[in-house]
Symmetry: none
Subunit: 247 residues, 2 copies
Amino acid sequence: MENHAQPVSQVIANQIEQMVLDGALKPAQKIPSERQLSNRLGVSRTIVREALHALQGRGVIKTRHGQGSFVARIVPEPEDESPLMQLFFSHSRTLFDLYEVREQLEGQAAYLTAQRGTEEDFYRITQAFEAMERADPLANAELDHAFHKAIVEASHNAVLVHILASLKKLLLHSVHASVANLSHRPQVRQQIDKHHRQIYHAIINRQAQWAQKAAAAHVRHVCESIREIEKQERHIIREAITDTAAG
Amino acid sequence: MENHAQPVSQVIANQIEQMVLDGALKPAQKIPSERQLSNRLGVSRTIVREALHALQGRGVIKTRHGQGSFVARIVPEPEDESPLMQLFFSHSRTLFDLYEVREQLEGQAAYLTAQRGTEEDFYRITQAFEAMERADPLANAELDHAFHKAIVEASHNAVLVHILASLKKLLLHSVHASVANLSHRPQVRQQIDKHHRQIYHAIINRQAQWAQKAAAAHVRHVCESIREIEKQERHIIREAITDTAAG
DNA sequence: TCCCGAAAACTGGTAGGACCAGTGATCGAT
DNA sequence: ATCGATCACTGGTCCTACCAGTTTTCGGGA
């Protein structure tokens, strides 16, 4: 006995929206193509498209021609090289502000994960962690991201997941934060690895307080390292200029 | 030379929404049928339907099978905040996730303010605090708002200010009723006032850790009070229903 | 004449096929 | 190994047909 009280397209839209709210669909994640959904759900592509348009109207998803549909970000799309972004990051001050906020939220994510993470969550985190440990030498930034992402997503707080995803995207867009630079400095890299191990073990041992502190300390350390590097660069530039002036 | 930068369905949706905002289409007014629009606009009915679904998602129109589509929204609504954020606020399940994040951020704001607040900042905070204390009886939500705002802005972290401003703005719109209710419960109100005093004194004495804990505890308390009220309301409703059934 | 009920003429909802238009990966030639 | 064309994806648009509600119409019976 199918209740045709509301159209199928609305049912589908609500279902998908619920999945986003529950965190089953992560921010910026690609959702199946219209034709795939059409097949799996046993409805026409027309209906799927109408559902997706409704979600688009609600701001839940973002559709790009030729690419697919993606879960929307909680902060409005940065718009490539928008003047706002330029302004935002022209002052490295706001970059550090971002890091300050991130420090707090990463800490909380670690705390919550240590508290409520399931065995499945821990399995995923362990995999990410071990992959990172194995590939240590070149220190792929991807793996670093994956590790933190696994932790955040295990916090079971959809809002936290969305906000941190947005923050990270903002940080990536910033020209300053070339994390690549960090990895090339041995002592910094070593400290980062140590932090990662601390965070990991605190979480799987469900030591929430510890996990929080370790995660916060980690972000703070990264931020301060960047600050340090910037200072050094400024110094080098100044020296170069004075050299030129002297010569 | 039509730029196909954005899909036709979106163009149509925006056009119709604009007409509603301009007042060309009045609330509850019936808009032309899909087939009529299809003919007049020179596009397929499919496209018209997709546009209408988008508008439906935005809450601009309401469609009834066999009757047509009607303008729904009376309030133009600026829509300046992240739509996804609004969604998180509208579902009570994720509302608590939101509070969890806010707890952390308010805590950090208090911490930073206690640490780096200037005398001017403290003056503003003091004014807000004393105004709130004086006007205690009716417990105006505005003053509460102003007090927290003063603290956050004194944190000297632009990102934090921005995020918390967005959160609070949405909070005012969503659980406005609940907040009003909170003030009317003596013991809750008393606890809130106590928290405010703790936060205030910790900040002006530059006890950052304390300020952080007090602010976080404050938000957590508010959140749990709302949770409690919701539970009570559910209980009342259930009783009413069983009463009806019994009668 | 008036009233009722069936039919017709609307309304939106669903289906499936065909094709266009971007995007990205694949693979072949250089 | 590099570059470029091709191909297999993605969403965007159109069409045609049909189903399912709602309203109007209109004809036959009282």
